[in-house]
Amino acid sequence: MQDVFQLAYWIPLLPLLGAMINGLGRHHLSKTLVGWIGSGTVLGAFVLSLFIFFQVKAGNSAVVHYFDFIKVGSLTIPFSFQLDALSSLFLLIITGVGFLIHVYSTAYMHDESPDQFARYFAYLNLFVFSMLLLVLGANYVILFMGWEGVGLCSYLLIGYWFKNPAYTAAANKAFIMNRIGDLAFLVALFWIITKTGAVGFQDVFSFVQQHQFTAKFTGTDITVITLLFFIGATGKSAQLPLYTWLPDAMAGPTPVSALIHAATMVTAGIYLIARSNLLYSLAPATLHIIAWTGLLTALLAASIAIAQNDIKKVLAYSTVSQLGFMFLALGTGAYAAAVFHVMTHAFFKALLFLGSGSVIHAMGGEQDIRNMGGLSKKLRITYITFLIGCIAIAGVPPFSGFFSKDAILLSVFLHSPLQYALALLAALLTAFYMFRLLFLTFSGRFRGTQEQQHHLHESPWAMTVPLMVLAVLSIIGGWVGIPAALVPDAEALHHFLSPVIPVLSHTVSHETEYALMALSTGLVLAMIIAAWVRYRNYQPGAPANAFVNLLENKWYVDELYNKIIVRPLSALAGWLREVVEASVIDGLVNGVGRAVQYSARQLRLVQSGQVGVYVLLMVLSMAIMLVIQFFVRK
């Protein structure tokens, strides 16, 4: 019955093979073949993931052990996969959305030369492989392999157009900021190994359950480990203070932004914490920090998104903000709600990014929404699907985003009214900036050049079909998590996840739930109308006030980091090189050398050839020796 579990290794292996074939054969394969190999391998992984999913749904789960990766002393790090509710859900998201984005890419990247086209697909497949490894790994080391692998692929794909120095700078920035988080992840990992002697999720969790708050595993241990993992997550999932790489990462091709920087990789941090929910539930202090970090990130990024004019930048900050919502959910202990939002967000944010790609494609590379407008007539499918995405992310029932956001808001409401008010504010900002984006892009009059207007066209089917599939998912994707207040025996997703994530017991009346839903829906609709009034017939030229300038310049956070971290560090390195290394250390060495030379010259003077001096020295030294002997005897 569980034979399909034994085949689980094919899920990451297929994309890896695809990456190798496309990478090595890039000079020999036609674009069509490259596209088929790239998409086909991910489709194969998707089909296998479906089998796994249904096995898990039937109540099975397993840890499949392949071989011992490292065995040193009493430490064993197996290469093994965890097949359970959490990983199977992520498998479906990664391979499903991943497949659609691969298909989309075959059309979007069609202007590339064949070998570059193959290089792109090799990287993209390698990314899918790494991401699958991340969620399949049954221990923190395998998870970290995937964790670093996706970081590498992100680096390669952000800098895919490597001739542009700004793009490669963005790639480096992404990798290095992720590495800062990785250091925290690693220290947490070493700490776990030192304390528990194990790395496997099940071993670690059962050890912690047995020894929690004893000398073997103190409260400090739990706090430090959870906090360090969270710092790791802030790097990968673009939270304060390490979020600034994600907006820059938009330098990569748009499908990459959709897959890596919206739907999958950036949710790795949420996966890590949801996977370790047992540890986090023991660390209320850490949860507190997570909740506030997520909330502040959600607010900050949403405020920046309001004033951005690059279509992809708006979506990037929106992603940062939505990830903040997920961390807020984690911080309030609503792990399942966070995972639920990961899923719906993957649908609608991938849809929105791919939609923006379709717009950019039609506009001949233009990304500034001030130069767009009125596109709804020429790009029907893109417009309708983008609209669906906007409604979904804004949180209007019965679209998917409503249910996942509602689950988060409810949990926050029960946790802290203040946090609820701020989270609601962030949700309203979301509705506003998304519909600002929609109206500026698709409504009003076209504001671009004549040439662009002439060029406007709907994208080919390889791009529009994925848009349509994602649009359907953005509508119905939330129905797996309809709250019990609306439909009896609902919350299918929470029950599905319950073996990994314990179900929270609500103590809230249905009336309160209805009131909260009505409040958020009403306010969201008001924000949409406000955006409609303001941006439906946008005319460029109105001077911006100082506050909008501040938002447009992203609160000057990049400049601040540059001033207080990058430049001082660079100056320190220069000082070490010029002064310490050259003058102090090497100077000391050379000084010692010169001192030896000098004393040698002085000593040579002693050999004067005068017998009297020799005799004197002899007598003196004999005297000294006698004195020494005298004292030593005593």
Binding site: I70, M145, F162, T168, N172, L183, T194, L576, R577, V589
Partner: protein, 492 residues
């Protein structure tokens, strides 16, 4: 017996090479054949003949002072001999088509250096160890001062004086140690049995350590290294950094830790602190280098810093990680040097600011550089990750009071290595090609083969590290059997 053969093959190869005179074809053939034969022998020794009778060798030698010609191919020596054999063989393949002035002497000295290093790794007698230690140094002196760059004389002189100073202290320490043994013997077994007071251990530790610290080099004894690496011809730099620095680690592992465990424990914090300060220091300086060779040189100091710290953390995890890294670091830095050499040969410069856009015309070279650079910054699924994972785990498990500070400080190297490595790749390989890099760098079949072997080793041991870890496990078993230092170092 095999141990003796491992020593004799390069020695004979060197002598024949000197004798071959001006026949360049014959010289390269001798070099290639000798290194290939040695690699075959070491591989056979590791896989087929594991009986101790075959791997050890002893003959009388300077009996008057209690020394004997004793060699042993124990697990630690086999890792290092394997590394040396691989590095030399790949170097021979790489150099096969490249002309070099006075090649007979060049390859002759290189082979003699190989013999010297093999002797250092194999010797189980203190005086013999010292003898080979010096023997390995002399060829390097000639190689750098004859075939080196414009500043070669001054730089090589400094290198020689510096390392010679360490050697003198090493000899003094060994002689003193011998005088303390009841049977007045230099044999490692006798030295291990000597009863030393804590004060004696400390004095001896500081007599022996400078030699090893200079050879590594350990911060702040490192200033000879970037200059020497820069001035020496790349094949020599490569041998120095891939293999010769391992002599320092071996010195610590075989002649320091087991003989002076209490002193190593007491001074551990200081030495680990220095090593880790060196990681951050060298990484920051590497970031600000404009010469590819100096960048690799400083990055090597940073890597070695972690290895030294792991040695003094002295638990099963850190030591096995260290032994694994001895091998990985050699392979990876070999790859780095070959790529630097290829870039310099084809563009005529090593200046990072003068290069750029190589990826445009030379995608194959770029892929090799990416993989090797990623191994250097210890990305998972490369060999670099395994060693660092174990060394860091071991470092955090030490008894030191500052273990967390030490680990995090050492971990800064993880971030900084990405900063300078990716910065270099961006400047050299990405962007628009310029007049210097307008011509594609095409790799000959042989060069591609050499780099491919390196990449295969990187990925293989990144995914299946266990075969090598089984060998290093034998080493730690043996070490902790020889000396029970588990009461000092938390055994993990």
């Amino acid at each position: 017996m095999i141990a003796l053969l491992i020593l004799l093959i390069p020695l004979l190869g060197g002598i024949i090479s000197f004798g071959a005179g001006t026949n360049k074809k014959l010289v390269s053939l001798v070099f290639t054949f000798s290194t290939a034969l040695l690699l075959t022998l070491v591989l056979l020794a590791l896989t087929c003949f594991k009986q101790p009778a075959l791997s050890a060798f002893s003959a009388p030698w300077l009996q008057g002072v209690g020394s004997s010609f004793s060699l042993s191919l124990d697990p630690l020596a086999s890792v290092l001999c394997l590394l040396t054999a691989i590095v030399y063989f790949l170097l021979a393949l790489y150099m096969l088509e490249k002309p070099i002035e006075r090649s007979a002497a060049f390859y002759g000295w290189l082979l003699l250096a190989q013999a010297g290093m093999m002797g250092v790794f194999l010797a189980t007698d203190g005086l013999l160890f010292y003898f080979f230690w010096e023997l390995a140094l002399i060829p390097m002196y000639f190689l750098s001062s004859i075939w080196g760059g414009p500043r070669r004389i001054a730089v090589t002189f400094k290198f020689f004086i510096y390392t010679f100073l360490g050697s003198v202290l090493l000899l003094a320490g060994l002689i003193y140690l011998q005088s303390l043994t009841p049977e007045k013997s230099f044999a490692l077994d006798a030295l291990l049995k000597v009863k030393l007071t804590t004060a004696q251990q400390s004095w001896l530790l500081w007599l022996l350590l400078p030699a090893f610290a200079i050879k590594l080099p350990m911060f702040p004894f490192h200033t000879w290294q970037p200059d020497t690496y820069e001035e020496a011809p790349t094949p020599v730099t490569l041998v120095l950094s891939a293999v010769m620095v391992k002599m320092g680690i071996l010195g610590i592992l075989r002649w320091l830790l087991p003989i002076f465990p209490i002193a190593a424990y007491q001074w551990g914090d200081v030495i680990m602190g220095l090593s880790i300060a060196g990681i951050v220091y060298a990484s920051l300086i590497a970031w600000r280098q404009d010469d590819l060779k100096r960048l690799v040189a400083y990055s090597s100091i940073a890597h070695i810093g972690l290895m030294t710290a792991a040695a003094f953390a002295a638990n099963v995890t850190s030591l096995q990680g260290l032994c694994f890294q001895l091998f990985s670091h050699g392979i990876n830095i070999l790859g780095m040097w070959l790529l630097v050499d290829l870039i310099e040969r084809n563009t005529g410069t090593r200046k990072i600011s003068a290069l750029g856009g190589i990826a445009q015309h030379s995608p194959v070279l770029t892929i090799f550089m990416l993989i090797i650079a990623l191994a250097n910054i210890a990305l998972p699924l490369t060999n670099g990750f395994v060693g660092e994972l174990l060394m860091f785990t071991g470092l955090l498990a030490t008894k030191s009071n500052y273990f967390l500070v030490l680990t995090v400080a050492a971990g800064l190297g993880i971030i900084l290595s990405a900063v300078y490595t990716l910065g270099m790749i961006r400047s050299v390989f990405f962007g628009q090609p310029n007049s210097v890099t307008a011509q594609p760098i095409t790799l000959s079949l042989l060069e591609q083969l050499v780099l491919l072997i390196i990449v295969v080793l990187i990925l293989f041991f990144g995914f299946f590290p266990q075969p090598l870890l089984d060998v290093t496990a034998q080493y730690t078993d043996q070490l902790f059997r020889q000396v029970d230092i588990s009461y000092l170092f938390r055994k993990f």
